[in-house]
Symmetry: D2
């Protein structure tokens, strides 16, 4: 059984309904929902690191560098990175080669966990398992499918990640 | 990308609250929740077969034979069997050797999907991914971990599947 | 026991998460959630009329005229109007005198029903009861309180209707 | 605006899923869900008193005496008593005359709040409003209807309170 670390970077999976704007935002208290998702999934072994809470459409190279450093520094062989869907593929390709001995799996959601009926738990459950089973490298796990970094692309029209 | 079939046998994952008894039961209309769970997970590719809706504590050899026949008959190389947690390990061991070229993954939940805040989506997301990644054989995927059939055992005290 | 009609005009209570914009919108199929809310509340007697699905911030006089006509035409003595919170007070005052023999209760929600953990069910339950108990006139019921039309005002800062 | 106190006695509204028995039970930590229900309903003014957490089918005269004493001792003019549906009518009739100047409203749920999609919020929202509007006396508010104590009876077949 491999140790797993989840590195939280934000994205829709971690957003909440903001009553004032009637849009989505991150919690004003800066909290992530990943620990509660693991508790509901009765999955008690991953270590969770909150790196940032950002919409991946606004990621710049400094953000991706920070993720790369967190991936390189993590002692675990199996890493899950929660991430916005907008630029998940781009970050996956950015991370290639950063930690050649580790299995890095990006995941996220199209609907926030905090709105219920979210794809977040299904995706996170897949990513945690995939990070323990896949070979070292960078992968995406979304909607029941596994994608190598170079083929991780959002189908914006369908709202899912497709082959 | 492998084709995946989900064979539904019941278990807690598919139970509903029964108002009269204040306990859990299967839907009076005989329906399974797995298609709705896939829809929420935005996972549109698995084929779902409803084989039975039973509490696995009441499974007998005829029930396990029926599952074995469904596993052997399925044309897909990757199978997920939703199953009660009570005797999941026993059924896994019963299925060993039934379809040596297929990857068979058993999963389920400690809390029904229909009660929300269920581990069912996390587990199902893990099982669908694992069925595509694991070698042929019989496995269990629960709470973020992958177990070979011979080591698939419920920790009744903790309410999870442990190493 | 009085007959109750619910006239649906839209507002946050009936919005859904829109994946493309990451904001709130009405269902593309033009459906209202009020019947499902009644089903969950096990409240089977109100008649539901879908008049429009609009954000009340964009209501004009033609919209308020349409509501007034629906209120005047309804055969029931007790009416609930679901409405956006933004201009609920203004519509309440517009409706004064339109149907002097009827009890008209406006209600809505700060968080959509479809996002769960919504105040919509609590508010709707209060409005359906209040419409049967209050004297003829125009009222608002929000967050456990009853307001006459002239004192129905949203506390934007607190996100509730206050005394 | 009247002050409102909610006296919690248990019942289905406050039960949780018990994984070991696969039935319903009260929280092992003895907590009530009423404050969370009020928070979701954005209703911040009632005072909540946790008197007991019991299934009303097992209430005896000592339990009903304890409720009567709590009703008589409460300083507020408007009281809501959360209660199991099984003997709600019997307790309502027991409470008649105990506090002739107060309005006492019993309510509860057919499905626990903690299982989501519960009638609890709809019922509680109705009860909090009714306690402020009704005349002194003992009433039940369930499923959108208001019943005087002498006519408060569960329709066990339909799973609701009917006229």
């Amino acid at each position: 059984m491999k140790d797993v670390r989840i590195i939280v970077t934000g994205g829709t999976i971690d957003k909440v309904h903001d009553m004032a704007s009637e849009g989505l935002a991150f919690s004003p208290d800066g909290a992530t929902h990943i620990p509660e998702m693991l508790r509901i999934g009765r999955c008690d072994f991953p270590t969770v690191s909150l790196l940032m809470l950002k919409d991946s459409l606004y990621f710049d190279d400094a953000d991706r560098d920070a993720i790369a450093r967190a991936v390189a520094a993590a002692p675990e062989p199996a890493l899950v990175v929660t991430h916005g869907t907008g630029t998940m593929g781009r970050t996956a390709r950015f991370l290639q080669g950063v930690a050649p001995d580790k299995c890095v799996v990006l995941t996220g959601a199209m609907r926030p966990f905090s709105l219920y009926a979210s794809d977040g738990e299904f995706n996170l459950g897949g990513a945690v398992v995939a990070a323990q089973l896949l070979a070292p490298g960078v992968w995406g796990v979304m909607n029941g499918r596994v994608f190598p970094a170079e083929r991780l692309n959002k189908n914006t029209e369908q709202g899912r990640f497709d082959v």
